[in-house]
Symmetry: C2
Subunit: 551 residues, 2 copies
């Protein structure tokens, strides 16, 4: 009996891992992996990690992966084979051997495409200059490492302040590089709400990272050696020894399109629950495919560091034999990075995304500390977003210490089963010592949302308040004690300590919108209840409190 | 209209918090809290925390709680009122005012009992001696703090190596105390599987904590001042300046029983989904009540540091008005402590508990590191237990670094919805940088269990292997490289590196049970597949690998 043949093309690590999973399922499988370059394609997050961590040897890391696969079976990894075409009718891959300069082909029973992404930067002046990197390959990481080691790279501009951009900026900053980020969108941290993004921006400001928002790179000016020297935007001229361009990253669908494989609405390869494309026997995974968003039911594509480990096993299993395993849950868009001393995580939709999708959304922000002592104690901001109509959780964003990081997988599990705020309240979440008396932030947030849904309270986000704070119809009341307010409060705020609220109520104009603020919003809540009892109507609590107010 | 009256008795902090929640719901409520002593009852975990953290002022902590409640409404906290009886027909509480020495009563519309626990130590010789503490009150914590500060307490014996006992031992150890633990059961860390317990024991050994297992305290010998000086067990005489007795902790149901309130099979107060007892208008929560175990459906009681934050809101809400909120999910028995550099966590059943409950259980142990560098990098052991018949998750135990801690709430959410291993595989869990290529330990464990359920592999736990390792029918094969094996392996193991397995197969007796071992079990897995292809039948993989082997 002939051995079954599996060919993997595209070179992204998920494809290699799927090959390993296939080998594990069926040791008799004849597996060939075609790499377009000398090495497999690492994720841009991982390349940034290698730039930062100089002790890590990228080659031994990659040969380790290769060795591990080879332990399982006789898989052949063939470098420098550029795929020219996939002839699906004949079940063969046509490729060019770049080492020896000839064209050849390979037949397959099943094929996995893991083509990853490609960068399509605009053709602006100077885009071809030296030291402009798209973080496409291990060669980029080496060049950057060497440039930094040699002291030739001191100033860097990172184009695109997406979560990836921020992670890359952090890795450079850790190497002592002076980093400026240029973001053409209105905020950094695409996919997160504006208030959260602002909080991260503030932290970056403190660490000395400049972030230019709403700025587009117009041109890049080279020096005498042809290397980039300046980055020009409408309002700035930035000196730079290096540019890392992280905008315009798109799924690489070139070879798939050529082969007649369906590309979906999100611009990436479409696969079914077996990870199979519309062409039987051809599978795809990693950053070149699109997913169904679990919440909206719509296809989405996002550049994901975790590119979906679930798909690895499913694609591996199904290409080793028949289609048996399924991946029937889409994505929640879960994401988590650590940068500048913060864990920055999300799962599901942000409030802005929820509104854009037409949901009636309610949200609550909880500000809670890690429960640690001294310098390791960090504030955590947890923002929960739910659908007003059916009470389902739409998403969570969290920024801060370890607590933030812990919440993401938990909430992904909740979203995965269509969980509601009622379900959250039934969840037996364990606390975080030593603050045994504290409630879990998810419970607090759920409770706050209940209060808002039943009309008991009303919140306003930091972002909204900042937009309207100069409106004469807005009165901001800081209900903390006088000493606390003297230590610093919002410039627009009047300080009426909670215990004076009743006697000084006539100082407040009942016709105006009164926003109550305190450190974490607890006293603001009490003030809200008090004023409502006193007949006030237009009341709001600053969501998350002053600690979470980043303006 | 008369104000509605809520009375809270028992003094445990959950009762106080429920009163605060009730006040929040209904500011018109007339709330009185009767404390039997001067202060509210803190959890034993929290008292231990205060013993360790000398900078924390217990009084300001507790008055802070009182202040916070008073902010909401005119709640009265009445100290030194010992409850004598609850006359349910007349809806009144009879109490003795210990300060002024008279008896009085209070009428209520609704009542909350938060009686906590009581210690019922055996009446052995010397149990009444000085410096024997049951960690019942803040006075105990003060006495211990003072004894340590004055240098009078240098050696301590902690009786009972439950999770609570281990937490208490850690707090004393942090204060520089020489701690010995005496546990009458067969292992420390009741509720965890033996292998996990052994791992923790090993860590405690390294930190200098002596743990005597299977030893019962026979008598306590006092010194001239009437303070404890020696602890006698069948095999040891232990010098001690202090004993903390943490065995024989039972729910305090005295007052409930007297009032005719039903006490359930687990020996604690029974409540319904509204947190109401069998007597209408009387509610209970905290450590004096029992829960339904979500997995077994049976009532259980366990001393819980988190005592159930969910119940606080439900009891508060329902006593503020009518029964509206429900707590319809029982407990998973989730628990998490940090001690001796380890996070030790569980949710659901251990394997031993599952077997005892009659489940056909399968398990898998994954050993994975934190992904950190240097000294902060820690190994994490994650043990997943599922029901073979319906594939439902029965429980998880984890020990190690931050990863261990993260998994508990996640898995509680999975158990909460009756999740199966198939559901786990559909969960989009995000990784833990920087090991981007790693799979999530829960995914790995689920996959391992699939392999075992389908007969592809077979595992043996560290605990089982240790029991039978000297059996002549057992052959342990270390499939790591020769240099690795030379660095240390099991004394009983023969080293046959993976790549020599095929050629040296005739050295292995096919009739015997062959246990394959490697660091984390990955190479053992590959060896398993190889030997099976070569016709071997009686093969096992050491679950979790050598790193997780604590013997």
């Amino acid at each position: 009996m002939e051995k079954r043949r599996l060919v993997v093309v595209g070179g992204e690590i998920d494809g290699i891992m799927a090959a390993a999973a296939a080998a594990k399922e069926n040791p008799e499988l004849d597996i060939k992996i075609l790499l377009s370059g000398k090495f497999l394609l690492l994720n841009k997050y991982q390349l940034a990690y290698f730039i930062q961590n100089v002790d890590e040897d990228m080659h031994s890391y990659m040969s380790g992966i290769g060795e591990e696969i080879k332990q399982h079976c006789n898989v052949e990894i063939l470098p420098c084979r550029r795929v020219i075409d996939i002839v699906s009718l004949e079940k063969k891959v046509v490729y060019e051997n770049l080492l020896e300069g000839y064209q050849s082909s390979l037949e397959f029973d099943k094929l996995i495409i893991a083509a990853g992404v490609k960068s399509s930067p605009p053709s602006i002046e100077g885009i071809q200059a030296g030291n402009i990197f798209f973080l496409d390959s291990i060669d980029d990481a080496y060049s950057i490492r060497e440039g930094i080691d040699a002291g030739l790279i001191r100033k860097a501009v990172v184009v695109g302040a997406s979560p990836l951009g921020i992670y890359v900026a952090k890795c450079l900053w850790k190497r002592g590089i002076d980093v400026t980020m240029v973001e053409r969108g209105e905020q950094i941290l695409d996919g997160f709400d504006a208030g959260i993004a602002q909080l991260v921006k503030k932290q970056m400001d403190q660490k000395g990272i400049k972030t230019l928002v709403g700025e587009k790179v117009l041109s890049l000016i080279g020096n005498a050696e042809g290397k980039v020297a300046e980055v020009h935007t409408p309002n700035h001229i930035l000196a730079a020894d290096m540019v890392i361009w992280l905008e315009d990253i798109r799924p690489n669908v070139d070879i798939a399109k050529k082969a007649g494989i369906a590309v979906g609405k999100a611009g990436a390869v479409e696969v079914d629950e077996y990870m199979e494309t519309n062409i039987p026997g051809i599978y795809a995974l990693g950053n070149c495919i699109q997913y169904i968003n679990q919440i909206t039911g719509k296809p989405i594509w996002m550049y994901n560091m975790f590119a979906d480990r679930r798909a690895v096993r499913v694609a591996g299993y199904n290409t080793a034999g028949d289609n048996e395993l399924v991946l029937n849950k889409g994505t929640t868009g879960a994401l988590s990075i650590k940068a500048f001393g913060l864990n920055i995580s999300k799962t599901g939709l942000s409030l802005a995304e929820a509104v854009q999708e037409g949901y009636q959304a309610e949200m609550a922000t909880v500000c809670i500390n890690d429960g640690k002592h001294g310098s390791s104690c960090r504030e955590n901001l947890v923002k929960l977003i739910v659908n007003k109509e059916n009470h389902r959780v739409l998403g969570v964003q969290s920024v801060g210490g370890i607590l933030s990081e812990k919440i993401v997988d938990l909430m992904t599990a909740v979203i995965n089963t269509g969980g509601t705020i009622e379900d959250l309240e039934q969840l037996e979440l364990i606390g975080h010592l030593p603050h045994i008396a504290d409630s879990h932030p998810i419970h607090i947030a759920a409770c706050m949302i209940f209060d808002r849904l039943t009309g008991k309270t009303q919140g306003i986000s930091a972002y909204e308040l900042n937009k309207i704070i100069h409106d004469p119809q807005i009165v901001v009341v800081d209900v903390r004690t006088r000493p606390e307010a003297l230590m610093g409060t919002l410039r627009e705020a009047v300080n009426i300590p909670l215990n004076e609220l009743e006697e000084r109520k006539d100082q407040l104009d009942r016709q105006k919108n009164i926003v109550l603020v305190s450190n974490r919003g607890r006293r603001a809540y009490t003030g809200f209840i008090k004023l409502r009892q006193l007949g006030f109507e237009h009341l709001y609590i600053l969501d998350g409190g002053l600690i979470a107010y980043p303006y």
